[in-house]
Amino acid sequence: MTIESEDNQGDEMETTASKGSLSDIAAARLQKQPGNSALGVGLEARGVHAWFGEKHALANVSLDFWPGTVTALIGPSGCGKSTFLRTLNRMHEFIPTAAMAGEVLLNGEDIYAAGVDVTKIRLKVGMVFQKPNPFPSMTIAENVLAGLKLAQLKTENKDDLLEECLERAGLWAEVKDRLNTHGGALSGGQQQRLCIARALAVRPQVLLMDEPCSALDPGSTLRIEETISQLSSSVTIVIVTHNMQQAARVSDYTAFFLSDGGPGQMIEVGSTNEIFSRPKDERTENYVTGRFG
């Protein structure tokens, strides 16, 4: 299952860039190439628009997520990146007045097509939220396996799955002796990794992360970033982040979103290395160099 791309775009990096700059960080990371994956066709957004009531929140976003890669969605607040993320697993419609247009294709099939069982879509496209949200009535073990219960899935060996998911989320060593205690006693970072383990237990093809570290301290953030790096070989990850360092550290591709007062738009997408070293659009450059936002 593991796909380790050896293709390093680092040799293309600008050597003049100062040490520790975003482009350095991005270049230091092994960038993955599309199309070398056994994870399926992937996730494609085709001309996605989103509305909240009469407010046009997102306009015409087309974006491909290559299997086994990490894509970061960056941009200032209110640019529609979280809204876009939530259209990808149909959590968008959870908001009463929400509407959308366009297509989201998972393995080539429109997830918004008539007759699609939305719960099956969400099993394939999992989600981790901004605020850690473990189920407080359940123990750590029950939390990890909650998805199986919720979606009425069967598994042969729950203990193995439990260990595997906690291991992949980087939490096993810390909680293996107290699996039957309640999840609420964990620290914020541990809770978030518990939520990642929970999302992994239903074996999603894609994992959406909506600012997963914004409520966490730097140490926990680092821990989750390591987790993301380890996961990216087996799961396609889309991450919304306000932290450009984080985008540079964890992602293979970066998409920049911006709203000029109207609906949010995707300004530019490219390999993370490119976006942070030589963006094509001036607005992207202004944003990633910290001139605004």
Partner: protein, 333 residues
């Protein structure tokens, strides 16, 4: 100079009292709300003292028989005076009747109420929700005598069929047996009327607590591929459980204390009756209402004692409710 900074002070000063000078308006407001808060406690205490004072004598002369026998007779001797030796007061039948009809009310009413609360919170379209919420509020404010009349004239006629059906198929369960073929004015029908009466309060409280289910947990459940039913089971129920128990206990309290509706519907008989379909029963409150009009002063004291027992019974139920809530409350929050 720097040494004084690092050295601990030689003597630790006493703790200061931290005070603030309240404004006059603040004092006035504080007085008003304190009065309001304490008055309910004072009124409750006064009622308790009143019942104790008046009921004490009966409780003393009747002893435990007051709770264990079902005989209610105020004897009068030849001279037209109260014969205290031959007067017997016992409320066992009424106490058990109180429990029986209240439990029937809860068993029938709670599933309907919780179902309604779930529908209103998670399924109903906004327009229907608004209409139903005001209808349920109206139901809570409906006079109980009207429920009683409705039960007597409408429910009784139609529930006779159901009572007979229950008896036909479930008479192997003792409570559904019929000692004689009389099924009208039974605890079953009174329980149904009470069930209708407790639906508003249980529904409102359950709905309130369901509507506070944390959104992020609900989203987590949906994002894991859960259906709405699965979300309810994994998130909403654990969260709302203790609140619903509290609502049920309030409903139970109302069902135990209900007077007029039970008085209208039920055939009050001084005999312990566990057969809920059989036309005999009663509860303490309706018995007090029944006897109060023509009771002698001596008998009234006995009624006060009955009231005291009901008061204590309600208190016990409420304390049990609090205990259950505090025991089960933490896990889902």
């Amino acid at each position: 100079m720097s040494s004084t900074l690092t050295q601990p002070p030689a003597t630790i000063p006493p703790k200061r009292e931290i005070t603030t000078k309240p404004r006059f308006s603040d004092k006035v407001f504080r007085g008003v709300v304190t009065t309001g808060g304490l008055s309910s406690l004072v009124i409750l205490g006064l009622i308790l003292i009143f019942l104790l004072f008046n009921g004490y004598n009966t409780l003393k002369t009747q002893g435990l028989h007051f709770l264990t026998t079902s005989n209610w007779s105020a004897a009068v001797n030849d001279a037209g005076q109260i014969d205290t030796k031959n007067s017997h007061f016992g409320i066992a039948a009424m106490l058990i009747g109180t429990m029986v009809v209240a439990v029937i009310a809860v068993v029938v009413g709670v599933p309907i109420s919780v179902g309604a609360a779930i529908y209103l919170t998670f399924y109903a379209p906004e327009a229907i929700k608004k209409i139903m919420v005001s209808a349920i509020d109206l139901m809570a404010a409906f006079p109980s005598v009207l429920f009683g009349l409705w039960g007597f004239f409408v429910l009784e006629a139609s529930s006779e069929y159901w009572a007979k059906l229950l008896n036909k198929f479930f008479s192997w369960i003792p409570i559904f047996k019929l000692p004689a073929p009389y099924v009208t004015r039974s605890p079953f029908i009174a329980g149904l009327v009470l069930a209708v009466m407790i639906i508003p309060i249980v529904t409102s409280i359950s709905r309130e607590i369901f509507s506070q289910t944390p959104l992020d947990r609900m989203q987590a459940a949906y994002a894991l591929g859960g259906t709405r039913f699965a979300m309810l089971r994994a998130v909403a129920f654990p969260y709302a459980r203790s609140g619903i128990v509290g609502g049920i206990m309030l409903g139970l309290g109302r069902a135990m204390g209900e007077t007029v509706a039970v008085y209208t519907v039920l055939n009050i008989v001084y005999q312990v009756n566990w057969h809920i379909l059989f036309s005999a029963g009663g509860n303490v409150a309706s018995m007090i209402l029944l006897k109060f009009g023509e009771a002698s002063p001596y008998e009234i004291k006995a009624l006060m004692a009955a009231g005291l027992v009901l008061f204590i019974l309600t208190l016990i139920v409420n304390s049990l409710a609090n205990l259950i809530v505090s025991r089960t409350g933490k896990s889902g929050r």
